[in-house]
Symmetry: C2
Subunit: 345 residues, 2 copies
């Protein structure tokens, strides 16, 4: 049973996405965005007395508003086309990349993979496309719950989404769950804000809404000049055109602790309050933690309780969309800490 005031969604079908390849500083390593992550997060939900529901196969219209038709088509057929190579590997990993402003979209699948996959950290296996769609369904179900009056809802999304832009996968992300949730909410409300507290800049989300004033995007993250995603996430990126002033980046020095992080969240919430959105989407990464393998920030477990409490106290109906936070003993503890704050325990 889901708690009526806080429905939670997870699809066991997302376990079908089980990426292996990862390239780190020139060496092949183990990918850390594995099904076990979701199991640890569910454990924390269960311990907090919450259960998850399988999301319905919802109306995915918002997905086609967020992603390009070409990219969605690519995702739907890439695995079958890849199988046609006699010497194909077990996963699709792109090995070259275009400059889209001056290069051509090729007909072959290897070139297309490089077009739509910005890095080597988003391998696509046999179950990836279906899992990504079911992950989107979780996000839409959470957004829909808000549309129907819930004060909060949680989507345990795997794969995560905030690094995927309209046309491109990247950084463990295939479809941008949070952006799709926000777009779905826009079908019901005029103004939506996205607050992204994952340790990495939400570059995909920023790019999707960069020229729009109806969705405010705020991201709090480790300074990108020497941290993923490197090429976006700087403080002077504030939006363009109609969207000028509707993107706020709060990059923090590598290794920043609780005080700096919570201060930035406070600042982000102040910007959101000024925007006065009808609904909030929270991109919840738990990888700002001090022992997360990526070591971007040094936030302690109790700070997740404080962050949750501050965000909850903003008083906005909120769809919480799971982003990062990788395999470690602390993952379930940090989720539990966040839920303590959110549920006011």
């Amino acid at each position: 049973m889901t708690e009526p005031g806080f429905p939670c969604f997870f699809s066991a079908e997302t376990d079908g996405h089980d990426p292996r390849f990862f390239l780190k500083r020139g060496q092949v390593a183990q990918n850390e965005e594995r099904p076990q992550r979701a199991h640890l997060l569910r454990q924390a939900l269960h311990q907090a007395g919450l259960t998850t529901a399988e999301p319905p196969r919802t109306d995915r219209a918002a997905m086609a508003q967020v992603h390009s038709a070409r990219y969605l088509d690519f995702l739907s057929r890439v695995w079958d086309e890849w199988q046609a190579f006699p010497d194909h590997g077990p996963e699709i990993v792109a090995n070259l990349h275009p400059q889209k402003d001056r290069h051509r979209y090729p007909s072959g699948i290897v070139g297309q993979a490089g077009w739509h996959m910005a890095d080597t950290a988003c391998p696509i296996g046999p179950g990836s496309h279906h899992a990504a769609l079911r992950s989107v369904d979780c996000a839409i179900a959470a957004a829909q719950a808000l549309a129907e009056g819930a004060g909060a809802a949680y989507a345990l999304c795997r794969p995560p989404g905030h690094h995927a832009n309209a046309d491109t996968a990247g950084g463990h992300c295939l479809l941008n769950n949070a952006a799709i949730a926000a777009q779905h909410l826009r079908g019901h409300f005029d103004r939506v804000a996205i607050l992204d507290i994952d340790v990495h800049h939400g570059n995909g989300t920023q790019e999707i809404f960069y020229d729009r004033a109806d969705v405010l995007t705020v991201s709090i993250h480790a300074a990108p000049d020497a941290f993923y995603p490197f090429y976006l996430g700087y403080a002077d990126e504030t939006g363009a055109g109609t969207g000028a002033g509707f993107n706020l980046n709060l990059p923090l020095p590598i290794g920043s602790g609780d005080q700096v992080w919570l201060g930035a969240i406070r600042q982000g919430l102040a910007r959101i309050a000024a925007f006065a959105p009808d609904r909030l989407v929270l991109s919840l990464g738990l990888d700002a933690h001090e022992r997360d393998p990526l070591r971007g920030l040094a936030v302690t477990t109790p700070a997740f309780t404080q962050a949750a409490s501050m965000i909850r106290n903003a008083g906005l109906p909120t769809a919480i969309i799971q982003e990062g936070g990788y395999l470690s003993d602390d993952l379930a503890l940090n989720m539990a800490a966040f839920l303590d704050g959110w549920l006011g325990r």
Copy 2:
């Protein structure tokens, strides 16, 4: 001793570039751009009665006119900075990539590697930068020989160059030897043409000269829509601005044989004759061969003799710059066949 009429240049120091990593269709494979290639090519030179000279550490001014200062600086320091990571791999392989028209140049070396390395096929090891500079020296020495009156000269360049553009390595290439040779020749002559008969489109060379009318670029290659480099090399790319009409791509259907290939070379030479250059740079790839591991075209060994003879008969003083052609028993045979045609034997 070099033959006075046909000086040949090779630096044994380029053996210090010995890349290992290669990613093909999702699997890590052996890189095929290895020192052994140069040894096979030299064998063919020796059998034709030619010897190679170590090039002088020549005036590299043309290199700074072809490549960006930022890229040259990156190449000079990336290895040392990479060593500073406690968990670094044995080679630099980029794992994510920007869209340069809208993304920021980061301060960290991982992000910079992705900026300057367009694919996973140009790993940088401890000896790579020095080897690339010595490879450039070979190309400049060949160009300088032409400036001093030679009718032809050959540069055994490793790493090859034609996929490197002003700001980016890619496809086994770090510095664009042929473009630098052409630029060096421009210091002595008004008009230079580059004919690229490697099986892959010379995308780096095209981009470097795309808006210039003083260097005509002609490339004959397997159609790129499903073949490396995928994103450039189409027939309608004819130059821009002042350079409009000064780039000619002749993409050929995958698997084309001698007749089609030689016909395209004839067509390319006709365009070059109309341009009436003072000097010619030949980007000589031997990978159009029917048994080359890449299987783009199906050219036979005798066709390299015919190609060489046709190009020689164009009557232009020519700097021959080695590009691709990968490890196989045919590599030395194809080089020998080319030399037979060039030397009129």
